[in-house]
């Protein structure tokens, strides 16, 4: 079995699919429950125009939640996975921009409340957040090719 075959093996794909789905559902729930806190987090990024902060805070968690649930249930896997990948790229770019301009923020990825940590700790957290999101993006990539292999398989 080649490395490509091993990386897109259905056994691995289904596990990646469930892990990604669970991660997105876990990330979405605190935001769905408390949109104003998530809006505050989005505001702190200083990227989104004021008029879009609230609507983003309301809709984005539901995209995460529904896409995550779709993956867990094995429905619409490619489209759900594509949406997740787009969100991950947005998160990575947003955190990177703030890291580059020295604006220390709480990610708001899995928790919408400020952690009360020092600036140095939060800067370190931002770097870890980027690495984590890149890791999740790699899982998403595996899922993309794994699902494509299943769909192209004869029978």
């Amino acid at each position: 079995m080649s490395a490509g075959d091993a990386l897109t093996h259905p056994w691995l794909t289904v596990r990646v699919q469930i892990v990604l789905g669970l991660l997105f559902v876990a990330a979405a729930l605190p935001k769905v429950v408390d949109p104003p806190s998530f809006a505050h987090m989005i505001y702190n990024y200083r990227i989104v125009p004021a008029s879009l902060v609230n609507i983003m805070a309301l809709v984005m968690p539901w995209v995460e939640l529904l896409a995550g649930m779709a993956l867990i249930l094995g429905l619409w896997r490619r489209s759900a996975n594509a949406l997740m990948a787009i969100l991950l790229v947005i998160f990575i770019v947003a955190i990177t921009i703030n890291l580059a301009r020295g604006n220390v923020i709480d990610c708001g990825c899995f928790d919408v409340h400020a952690a009360g940590r020092s600036n140095a700790q939060r800067l370190a957290d931002m770097k870890l957040d980027i690495l984590r999101d890149i890791g999740m993006l790699l899982l998403s990539l595996q899922l993309w090719y794994g699902v494509r292999r299943q769909e192209m398989a004869p029978g």
């Binding site: 429950v33 896409a67 594509a82």
Partner: protein, 285 residues
């Protein structure tokens, strides 16, 4: 995979998310609901950084405050402030550090039609001196020692306006715990800009919940206007200190409806707790 089907599925997830978000927001309590269009000044501008240090220039009767009450203060002394000081007729100065911050785009929004206050837009003048408080009364008592009843309060100048005159051209001034304690002892209106759930865990005694992130903030502003308060009386707004900007956002909002004497407690509730100031928990002020 069919590209069209792929796009339809993705669009369905997004549409379902929008519907769920709108329904959830419609059913949410006032503390969890939000206006669909946000109104946050400076949403895309970076937080202001301290640019100038203000050294208090005068003291009264040779008194000095206790060391725990006068930490060195780095201030954002903005150009705009002096217009307010000049307009008030008395330069604001004192031995308690006070700083002012005028947000970059500090022009007032149009006055709501429902309010009976003057309308018009005022711009911040350039090239003016920093806003400074008037002389502090001798011996600002530690907060913990502040008597609860007004009858037993020390004989200090009672009128907050004497020390904190209105500043119509500056949205707000930043003040430290000493000034806040002084104003608290005089029964000035305090507004807590943090989330209501946090307010309920503990807040400055007498402060009202006034979160800028909750859907009813505009209703609260209107209710405040409907009280027909003297809009030149000081109002103190606080949040969690540090880089918390909720109080600044609320100050900007209130200045927009012509409250002309707003102060932001820059170190916020954590500092108040450290000082042992009177605090309450629960949903009532």
């Amino acid at each position: 995979m069919d590209k069209r089907r792929f796009m339809m599925e993705a669009a369905t997830i997004i549409l379902a998310s929008i519907v769920c978000a709108l329904v959830a927001n419609g059913l949410a309590s006032r503390e969890r609901a939000m206006a669909l269009v946000g109104d946050y000044p400076g949403a895309r501008s970076m937080p202001a950084r301290p640019s100038e240090t203000f050294t208090p220039t005068s003291s009264t009767a040779g008194t000095s405050q206790s060391s725990r009450f006068d930490p060195p203060v780095t201030a954002t002394a903005m150009n705009a402030a002096s217009g307010a000081a000049a307009e008030s007729g008395a330069p604001l100065e004192g031995n308690a550090p006070m700083t002012t911050t005028a947000p970059s785009a500090s022009s007032r929004p149009p006055q709501p039609a429902s309010t009976a206050v003057p309308t018009g837009k005022r711009s911040v003048p350039a090239n003016s001196a920093p806003l400074k408080p008037n002389p502090v009364p001798p011996k600002a008592a530690p907060i913990a020692a502040a008597p609860a009843s007004s009858a037993s309060r020390p004989s200090q100048p009672a009128d907050p306006l004497s020390r904190f005159p209105p500043h119509e051209k500056v949205p707000f001034g930043e003040i430290s715990g000493d000034d806040v304690a002084w104003l608290h002892q005089r029964g000035v209106l305090f507004l807590d800009a943090r989330r209501t759930s946090v307010y309920e865990q503990g807040h400055i005694a007498g402060a009202r919940p006034f979160s800028v992130w909750e859907s009813d903030v505009d209703d609260k502003v209107k209710a405040l206007l409907a009280e027909n308060r003297d809009q030149k009386q000081p109002i103190v707004i606080y949040c969690s200190g540090g880089d918390c900007e909720d109080s600044h956002m609320l100050a900007q909002k209130l200045w927009g409806v012509f409250f002309n004497n707003i102060y932001v407690y820059k170190d916020g509730f954590p500092d108040w707790q450290k000082r042992g100031g009177p605090a309450k928990s629960g949903g009532q002020p």
